[in-house]
Symmetry: C2
Subunit: 435 residues, 2 copies
């Protein structure tokens, strides 16, 4: 790509996807300036769009001031808003805004006024609207006329003179209808819309539920203000899932696998410190029973089996419930049924695992009472595990705390503290039989 | 909906989304037969498409044999294949296949020959191809002619007489180009394609990377055999994320939050049994040091802090790495750097947490050597934790085992077994100083 002559270059770049050029750009062996210098403005704009938010401005800054202005002209309003919104340095920000056209500047201002995780924050203000008195033929002529400004679209939006959304017209319906058909007759008057303030997670779910490729966004007055396309939301589901997976694994901030060490420490140490408090609490429970342990030292080896298995069972229930909440699969109708199922799972798995452990301890230690204490503690702890695995995320959700973020610490605190308590407490009760 | 007169019904249903009718259908208070009896065949076909695979055939069976045939005619090849593929009863299967048209039958056979999680398994065979000698005007006339058969499309595919894919023509480009433009001049000749055998996860990633709405599927001879649309893949990312989240939480099979108890037991007990073996192993390590514990009973309360914190730190590293692998963010270039970062995180967090624990133990137990043993064991175990948190998923991936499914058990085995060993081993070495 770097060494091709002018004509070959022109032919080749026309069909290389900007995402692929971005990958080249991230390759350390390639000089980004040399690579980008020969690309057309519109392609550079697309590459900037593909880049992660915090690095977008870095690409723009590779170019001279004049060239920057030309590239900015090629970017759509939502792309501009994403980039401008990520610039933290105030003087740099002023410089970029100064390079925008009057129109772009006011649109970017408007878009940045919406929180970034709402419909307003992810929509683009470029869309094609047509008035409701057109025919197919007239519409086609109009589209050919404005071809220069049109970006890839899947729908046209039919509006009245006050810009109220009257319907959507699928391009498929446009191209398969005879030329004299009235737009009003082939449009869909019952368009699924989003409100500018809708949450992006909710929007991503709508795309999934209805199989949408484009979702028009309206304001309080039902006027069309923007459009969200499927490529804007494709990444939301993945991002939300990554966030939940990280939260559940005890990563509390935004951490990237190849990010800086300081980010990792910041996102992990707080979680470790919180868990340390939990560990001290559990350790304190054990210390209450030191007199019992000193008489039957074998208890010290067995007790971690009870808490460990309780932790596993609790994590299983919690995982199912947290993910169920994230996917909106829990509701009033099934809440009680699901709780009872989890509780039953606790009893059944507790009996099964408790039975095995009891049998093994009887064989190894030769004392049936030790087996009884172990098995009983296991059943009790597994019941606590599945019950808290259900209750903790559900309660956190009610308190508007993200269940993925905080559930694990409460569940393992319960299974550790109560696991030690059940086992060592029962052992103390049965102490004469264990000696 | 149930009681509206004929005309109102017709007007209303035209714009209700099938996904919404499906929700009504799942409402227990509504009789599905009464609801569905008045809907047109094409809408019933769409509703069946929206339903989960295993329940699709149940909806079809609500209708008389004749009506079933009419509904089947309205379904597209991939929808048919999804439904037919989910019927397990052989005689029912034969009955449905008998109702298909000759053409549908052979297409469904072909589609079912591909594994369900490959491009061939999720593509539809309905797409619009046009020959490469057309102009925009001729193309529009052709589309108006075949309007009846056309489903919603975003692209047309330009093929030669042997059905080799020559390019794709975006509908946006079609409607914005003047009528006499040659299709060859506005098509994109460098189409991103998938091969019929490509994995669905890879395909979902392509849609995300390139912001696609449609991806043509070709066979070995580069002939166009099908098309995957974005609504087919929207759910894949969510499904794969759910699977990974479940795997990491110790749910090894397909379990739904509101599924039957037997599913829950089947997906959870194996994991609990595997972890029980691990717990026995760790317990055995503790039992090796019973002599030491009997002399310093306080050790029994402290030791679970070391293993617990190691488990947390290991889970953190493992979570970051497993998700990084799932999102394809780990490669040869960054592998060593990421490993070293994880290892450094282990040293730094181990020093921090170990320092706190050591200080607390010194204060509580009044013995600086107990603090030293605890702190040292913590640092060692946190280093093991982050190192195995990296190495286990990476090695499992190399062995083609899903890291999300199996990593946790190996990581916690390492942190439990070695955590007890480090702590009790060091305590035994320093025993004279601890008494």
């Amino acid at each position: 790509l770097l060494h091709a002559d002018e004509k070959t270059l022109k032919e080749q770049i026309e069909y290389i996807h900007p995402a692929d050029i971005l990958e080249l750009l991230h390759d350390e062996d390639i000089d980004p300036k040399a690579l980008m210098a020969r690309l057309p403005d519109s392609l550079i704009a697309d590459i900037i769009d593909e880049e992660d938010e915090e690095d977008k401005y870095g690409i723009l800054k590779l170019f001279s001031e004049d060239k920057q202005e030309e590239i900015l002209e090629e970017m759509s309003s939502d792309e501009l808003a994403d980039m401008v919104g990520s610039i933290e340095d105030r003087s740099e920000l002023a410089k970029v805004i100064g390079k925008l056209s009057e129109e772009d500047r006011s649109e970017v201002r408007q878009l940045l006024s919406y929180p970034p995780d709402t419909a307003g924050g992810i929509m683009a203000t470029e869309f094609i609207n047509i008035y409701d008195n057109k025919t197919v033929y007239k519409t086609l002529l109009y589209l050919q006329e404005i071809a220069e400004e049109v970006e890839t679209a899947y729908c046209l939006y039919v509006v009245d003179r006050q810009n109220h959304l009257r319907g959507s017209l699928n391009l498929t319906d446009l191209v398969t209808s005879s030329f004299d058909t009235a737009v009003l007759d082939i449009m869909n008057p019952h368009v699924i819309t989003a409100h500018v303030e809708d949450d992006q997670e909710e929007i991503s779910r709508q795309f999934e539920k209805y199989g949408l490729v484009e979702l028009p966004v309206v304001n309080d007055a039902d006027q069309l203000v923007g459009v969200i396309t499927v490529d804007d939301v494709m990444e939301i589901a993945t991002e939300e899932a990554t966030e939940d997976i990280h939260y559940m694994g005890g990563i509390s901030g935004e951490e990237e696998v190849d990010g800086p060490l300081s980010d990792s420490l910041k996102s992990r140490l707080p979680w470790l410190v919180v868990n340390l408090l939990t560990a001290f609490l559990a350790s304190w429970v054990v210390s209450l029973f030191e007199a019992t342990i000193s008489k039957v030292v074998a208890l010290s080896a067995i007790m971690s089996i009870i808490t460990g298995m309780g932790g596993n069972a609790g994590t299983q229930s919690m995982t199912i419930i947290v993910r169920g909440i994230a996917l909106n699969e829990l509701n009033r109708d099934n809440a009680l049924r699901i709780f009872l199922k989890e509780f039953t799972v606790g009893i059944v798995t507790g009996a099964a695992i408790g039975g095995i452990v009891a049998a093994v301890e009887v064989v190894i230690q030769g004392n049936p009472y030790l087996g009884l204490v172990t098995g009983l503690a296991m059943v009790l702890n597994m019941m606590v595990a599945t019950a808290t695995g259900y209750l903790v995320p559900v309660l956190l959700k009610k308190m508007r705390i993200d269940p993925a973020l905080a559930s694990a610490v409460f569940v393992t605190t319960a299974t550790d503290v109560l696991g030690f308590f059940f086992f060592l407490g029962l052992a103390t009760l049965f102490l004469p039989k264990l000696l």
